[in-house]
């Protein structure tokens, strides 16, 4: 048998690892606050508010993504589900004239339905989630193009628009949705038997079967949660933009993916966790915002997101392997 590989690290090193990303985030905020080219605009309340409000959608999408990822499956359709929910919300309200409350419920319901469909394909029919959710994302993108004919939907109920653009207590209102959803995800994943079982299923599905966990049902639930939260994110997106833009949702998917994997390098290293994910979103957003204000071109956004994703996947898989002792 292999020797125990218990590497006794010092408490300082361990805390350094847990808090590496938050500390890095603080350093970046500090840097752009004093760096002459960006300092004036960067550290203004207005800029921070805009960053937080804009990122709240990505935070929601990232939290949605966590559920299937923890159970060991990709869900590449979260971005598309979010845009679809936004189109349903804006379309039924602005074009069909349904009350905004009904539109919101419809949007969330559509997200949940698509999530359930993904869950059936992966958990019941055993399809590879990587491919099937990529297919779902493409299919949804096509439906969105068909429904909108490539035109943005505008003219939603001003009440929702105001919710998206105004603040409570100096905090953008949409951020409260993130706080509620984030807290719920933190609670479900870390403090209920369902969440704990998801981590076990993602760790070793065969062992999960042999300790009596309902693997198929829970995997299906994980995709349903993903769809539900993507639906909520779609409503928040409608509120922020005052309508819906026809898009495949990749502008949401990739920053969210990067954030979730970055998040797995912090707080509980080697594991997907809510707090890490939120910090991951902020890390990417603050860095890109700072670079843009410092005069970088718009392509920096994509390059930074891509690089962050690759580095995050690398670091989190190293951490995961070290945890598994191989």
């Amino acid at each position: 048998m292999s020797q125990p590989v218990t590497s006794r690290r010092t408490p300082v090193a361990e805390w350094g690892e847990r808090l590496g990303l938050p500390i890095l985030l603080a350093v970046i905020v500090l840097f752009f606050s004093v760096f002459p080219a960006s300092s004036r605009a960067f550290f203004s309340v207005a800029n921070l508010t805009i960053v937080l409000a804009n990122q709240s959608i990505i935070m929601l999408v990232a939290i949605a993504l966590m559920f299937p990822l923890i159970a060991g499956h990709f869900d590449f359709s979260v971005g598309a589900m979010t845009v679809l929910a936004a189109v349903v919300c804006a379309g039924t309200n602005a074009q069909m004239g349904l009350p905004i409350a009904v539109s919101i419920l419809l949007a969330i319901g559509v997200g949940l339905a698509v999530g359930l469909a993904n869950g059936v394909l992966v958990a019941r029919l055993g399809l590879n989630s990587f491919v099937s959710t990529l297919g779902a994302a493409t299919l949804i993108g096509g439906l969105i193009q068909w429904y909108t004919a490539g035109q943005a939907i505008i003219g939603i109920d001003p009440a929702l628009l105001q919710f998206g653009s105004r603040q409570w207590l100096g905090v953008p209102r949409v951020l409260f949705i993130v706080i509620v959803v984030g807290f719920a995800a933190w609670y479900i994943l870390g403090h209920t038997p369902f969440g704990r079982s998801l981590y076990a299923i993602g760790s070793n599905p065969r062992s999960a079967d042999l300790v009596g966990l309902p693997r198929m049902r829970y995997t299906l639930f994980a995709f349903a949660m993903s769809g539900l939260i993507a639906g909520i994110a779609g409503v928040a997106l409608t509120a922020r933009t005052g309508g819906a833009n026809p898009d495949g949702g990749t502008f949401l998917l990739f920053p969210a993916l990067a954030a979730v994997f970055l998040g797995a390098t912090a707080i509980i290293p080697g594991r997907f966790n809510v707090v890490g994910t939120v910090i991951g979103v902020l890390f990417v957003a603050v860095s890109v915002s700072g670079l843009t204000l410092a005069g970088a071109q718009s392509w920096v956004d994509a390059v930074f997101n891509g690089a962050a994703l690759i580095i995050a996947v690398f670091v989190s898989s190293v951490l995961r392997k070290r945890r598994a002792g191989s």
Binding site: M1, V5, P193, R196, S207, L210, V211, L213, A324
Partner: protein, 509 residues
């Protein structure tokens, strides 16, 4: 009979950390003979094969192949191949979806055209057809490997290994019949005998006695990393083989409480057909520990898995505490307080990247539920208590299970189940890959669980373990129970005999 040696190994030593896997092993294989290597799990036969293959680097010893001598420590896979040693491992390394020709080309390289480097398929097929004919495999080069019978697949792997080899090549086969049904084994062995008669030297690793007896010229038996016996097959009657493999000596039985007279019947199995089982009857009393002996594929694991709801029942019935019992899932079995520690710890029991705490609490999560959430303090103190009670050596309960040693991982898995105080405890090879100290600790916990009233079934290929632990030993062969013995009045020889003999041969009672 004096035959020139094709392969000689002497004084081969291999240690892993502090564990001696192979101590002073020697082997002499005559040219054109079939030489069988026998021995139980961990006896050292596989280690020797891996040293010869250059997969493991031996600590010391010499290897002579066709008169060419070198230090065993210098053996590498490339050197082994060049010197004429060709290996076919238990996992044949074939790609089932690809054709025979493609499987062979992946090893030898594709014949390519001079221009553009495209594959010359006609040439490949012609070469493969010639090879198949040479090895008397009745199949077309285009046949996908998945469409072949199991024995033909083994022959394709052998043909591939020997495709470019010279006439004096030595073929080393590691458990080639382990996964084959009886008639498939016969067919493969007959083909091997034919090759040997034409001068092929073959080394055959196996644990199936009768078939080895029928086909091998010579035999070397390993036990505890040493050669226990080596002789011509004709000089090795089955009694001598069994004695060599088991060491003959009886180990002292440790303290074991007698089953209380009049204990309630815990489990009754009647005419059970499931998985590899073909009509099994078994009863188990509360507080009783029953051992399952038998070779791989005899139905030991099938029996445990069926009782745990993991295999569908084709025929027959089960009763748990007098009530009909037919679980369809692990969850249903668990609801009735049945527990299974599976054989494959890494694949089917452990969550390596989760902490010791998470690994032990996964079967009792609902116990820690306090109104709104899992109570971290209740869970932590439960995990701390288990670590202490089971002597799990770990830096802490938050340490990932994967960084513990095998024995401590197994203790954590056992703790995961025993904290539920199961009525029926099923253990499949509970001390596999576990050091001696952990093994005795695990045994102590199993005995304690039985004393507390659990019915225990232990499947093990380690007779020492069965004799140390059980009240009764049930011997399975080919899916049937061939003997139900009281542990204190039987011997290792008898159990070994019973599990290995062909059913046609007489069974001593």
């Amino acid at each position: 009979m004096t035959v020139l040696p094709a392969l000689e190994a002497s004084g081969v030593v291999k240690t892993f950390g502090g564990t001696v896997a192979l101590a002073d092993a020697h082997l002499r294989v005559g040219k054109g003979t079939i030489h069988a290597l026998l021995g139980g799990n961990g006896s050292g036969k596989s280690t020797l094969i891996k040293c010869l293959a250059g997969v493991y680097r031996a600590d010391s010893g010499r290897i002579v192949v066709h008169g060419e001598e070198r230090a065993a420590a210098d053996q590498t896979p490339a050197v082994a191949r060049r010197s004429g040693l060709h290996f076919v491992h238990q996992d044949l390394g074939l790609f089932p979806q690809l054709s025979i020709a493609e499987n062979i080309a992946l090893d030898r390289g594709y014949p390519t055209a001079r221009v553009l480097g495209g594959v010359r398929w006609s040439r490949l097929e012609a070469d493969t057809a010639a090879l198949l004919e040479r090895f008397e495999i009745a199949a077309s080069p285009r046949t996908p490997v998945a469409a072949l019978r199991p024995s033909q697949r083994s022959l394709v792997a052998i043909a591939r290994a020997l495709a470019d080899a010279g006439d004096d090549a030595i073929l080393m086969l590691d458990e080639p019949t382990a996964t084959l049904a009886e008639h498939e084994s016969q067919e493969l062995l007959a083909a091997l005998r034919k090759r040997a008669n034409r001068g092929q030297t073959i080394v055959l690793v196996s644990h199936r006695f009768p078939e080895v007896q029928g086909v091998a010229d010579d035999v070397t038996v390993f036990r505890d990393g040493r050669v226990a016996a080596t002789d011509a097959m004709s000089e090795m009657p089955i009694d001598r083989l069994v004695a060599a493999m088991t060491g003959g000596a009886e180990l002292p039985h440790p303290e074991r409480t007698a089953v209380r007279a009049g204990s309630a019947e815990r489990l009754r199995i009647t005419g059970l057909h499931a998985g590899a089982l073909r009509g099994v009857d078994l009863t188990l009393a509360a507080g009783e520990i029953v051992g399952l002996a038998g070779l791989g594929g005899s139905g030991r694991s099938s029996l445990l898995r069926t009782v745990f709801g993991r295999l569908p029942i084709r025929a027959g019935s089960m009763e748990l505490d007098g009530a009909p019992y037919s679980p369809h899932s692990a969850a249903q079995a668990m609801a009735l307080d049945v527990a299974l520690v599976p054989e494959d710890r890494l694949g089917e029991a452990a969550f390596l990247d989760l902490s010791v705490r998470e690994n032990t609490s996964i079967t009792v999560l609902k116990r820690f539920w306090r109104r709104l959430a899992i109570s971290p303090s209740a869970e932590r103190s439960s995990a701390e208590a288990l670590v202490a009670a089971f002597g799990i050596r770990t830096p802490g309960i938050e340490t990932p299970l994967g960084s513990l040693s095998g024995g401590n991982q197994q203790k954590a898995i056992l703790a995961r189940w025993l904290q539920r105080a199961p009525k029926l405890l099923l253990l499949d090879e509970p001390s596999q890959g576990v050091d001696v100290v952990a093994r005795s600790e695990i045994s102590a916990h199993v005995v304690a669980a039985a004393d507390a009233g659990a019915g225990v079934i232990v499947a093990s290929s380690d007779l020492d373990e069965l004799f140390a632990l059980t009240h009764r030993i049930v011997v399975l062969r080919a899916g049937r129970i061939v003997a139900d013995l009281t542990t204190s009045s039987t011997t290792r020889d008898e159990v070994a005999h019973l599990s290995m003999l062909d059913s046609e041969e007489g069974i001593p009672t």
